[in-house]
Symmetry: C2
Subunit: 336 residues, 2 copies
């Protein structure tokens, strides 16, 4: 760290959005980087992970994690390089990931960082298959969904970061995989490039009829990223002893009228099925296990990790919106 | 069996009800009892179990069990005495329970009957704590709900057959138990006679505020018999890692406008909770285990099995309605 402190640029949450975040829900601030306390590390941010969950963190009520305070830097996962360290586990020059926030220079507790090895994969991949989306797919599908070989797995937001990995991990485990995504291009992507068995276009197709045709024996595991009407439709097609994994509800996050509820929940009774939510943070002690498995599958060519990298830190507010308009293909990453 | 065959009286399903079953949805028929085939047993029905699930069996669509066909005898569990047997496991004079149907003389496969010992408890108790409601409460609470000592268990339709047993079994396992029931009399019953810790009157009280007050740390296990608004309200009060057991949805069975959906299902995500349905029939191989445990608890005075016995076979159509008007206290049983 030089004598003259570096300048940190950051986006703070200025107002709580109603519906989609607007430009003036953000405040752009520049300030000198403060000195490190014991146990802290200064990281120069290189890539920021833009995730649907960020929308929930902007609301006032507490969810599984405290909301971002007004006037605080927006929370975001990121990957970067250590510039300075007062933590024994980190040294300048190392690549790390962690909750860096939407800022160019993050001073964070070392306990919240993970060292990553750039020789295994490019840095953005550690924000995708070898990072939180990968861990979310891995634990959500395998621990909560418990798929068995030969079973039919359906996943929504199938072309998204988590969804695309869920489907591929299910294929590794010998399942038949049907992805639900918006538009023919995403459908082709998950089938032709990711190896899903079939795709359903919820925008133009009839999801109910397509499920009837593609999953004649019902859905054994449904990994839900979207909520709303799609969740309700899949509930009506569960197989006996099905598992519904509730990972997110992106169709509902910007709703200003309240979430659409799953009317068909009694299918859980009829089919002796369960619907279960999870939060990846609960599996922190097992991230290493997940990273190793995912890295092996990726190295063997069984797992495609596709990042949609958009450059330009200052464009953060606009780039974030791509998540909700469905414009992104693969994991949305902002290059700083 | 005498030379002159006995006359069987039965109620057949004449039409599929819209809303509450009406008198002309039934047809009363008398006919001679037919001769037994190999493996069959003739049972004289003494008590019939009237259950909320019967309403679902009257609908056209298949649920977890085929609907009752139009013109067929109405399905019902019952207890009675063996009059004749062509099955090696049964002999005249034995008390048995099984799916006897709403009729005075049932010819049934011996494989569907269980011998019960009238010296342990009165016969109607084998349609309650030592029968299907007991098994439903036992497996639903313990296997699906998995309560731990010290946890808070909430049960709806708490004064009903299954609900009252769920609460008492939870008390045996060291839980705090809050029952939701309609009216002050039922509330007093579950607290004063069954030993629940508290009761909430959903008819006059504010369920949400009451839960806030009575379950300040949230609900660990919710055993749901009612669905609808009560389920949705409890979902908003789940504790971390809560288990919601879907046993039934009596508030919705006669709905002509579709079930009210649980809008607050994302509480499952936030609280890493699960919602799971079950059907007691799946546990048939373990009924003996349940009966033994329940009988021991009952003998030790830890389990009250209260039957609401109404006499008069010919009054079946009217008596059944007591289930949906909330008039019954404890297990509704029709004495033939």
């Amino acid at each position: 760290m030089s004598e003259t402190p570096a300048i940190n640029r950051q986006f703070q949450l200025a107002a709580r959005p109603h519906g989609l975040p607007k430009p003036d829900d953000w405040r752009y601030v520049e300030s000198p980087v403060r000195a490190l306390a014991d146990g802290e590390v200064l990281v120069e941010t290189r890539y920021l992970s833009l995730d649907p969950a960020m929308r929930g963190w902007m609301n006032e009520h507490r969810s599984y994690i405290a909301p971002v305070a007004l006037g605080a830097v927006m929370r975001a996962g990121g990957a970067g390089r250590v510039l300075a360290s007062r933590h024994a586990g980190f040294a300048p020059g190392q690549d790390v990931t962690g909750s860096l926030g939407v800022q160019t220079h993050a001073v964070v507790a070392g306990s919240g960082l993970r060292v990553v090895d750039g020789s295994i994969a490019p840095l953005p991949t550690f924000l995708n298959a070898l990072g939180m989306p990968g861990f979310t797919a891995y634990f959500g599908l395998l621990d909560v969904g418990q798929p068995k070989a030969g079973e039919t797995v359906v996943v929504s937001a199938a072309a998204g970061a988590v969804g695309s990995l869920v489907g591929q991990i299910a294929k590794v485990h010998g399942c038949r995989v049907v992805g639900i995504a918006g538009g023919p291009e995403k459908g082709r992507y998950v089938v032709d490039e990711l190896g899903f068995d079939a795709a359903i276009d919820y925008k133009t197709g009839n999801v109910r009829d397509s499920l009837e045709r593609l999953c004649p024996a019902g859905v054994d595991v449904y990994f839900d990223n979207v909520g709303g009407e799609v969740l309700d439709t899949v509930l009506a097609k569960l197989a006996l002893h099905a598992r519904v994994v509730i990972c997110g509800a992106i169709s509902q996050y910007n709703s200003t009228t309240g979430a659409r509820a799953p009317s068909n929940y009694l299918s859980l009774l009829v089919n002796r099925a369960r619907m279960q939510g999870f939060i990846v943070f609960d599996y922190a002690a097992r991230y290493g296990e997940a990273e190793a498995k995912l890295a092996v599958w990726r190295a063997a060519g069984r797992l495609v990790s596709r990042e949609h990298v958009v450059a330009g830190f200052e464009r953060f507010p606009q780039v974030l919106l791509k998540l909700f308009t469905g414009e992104n293909h693969g994991k949305l990453v902002l290059e700083v």
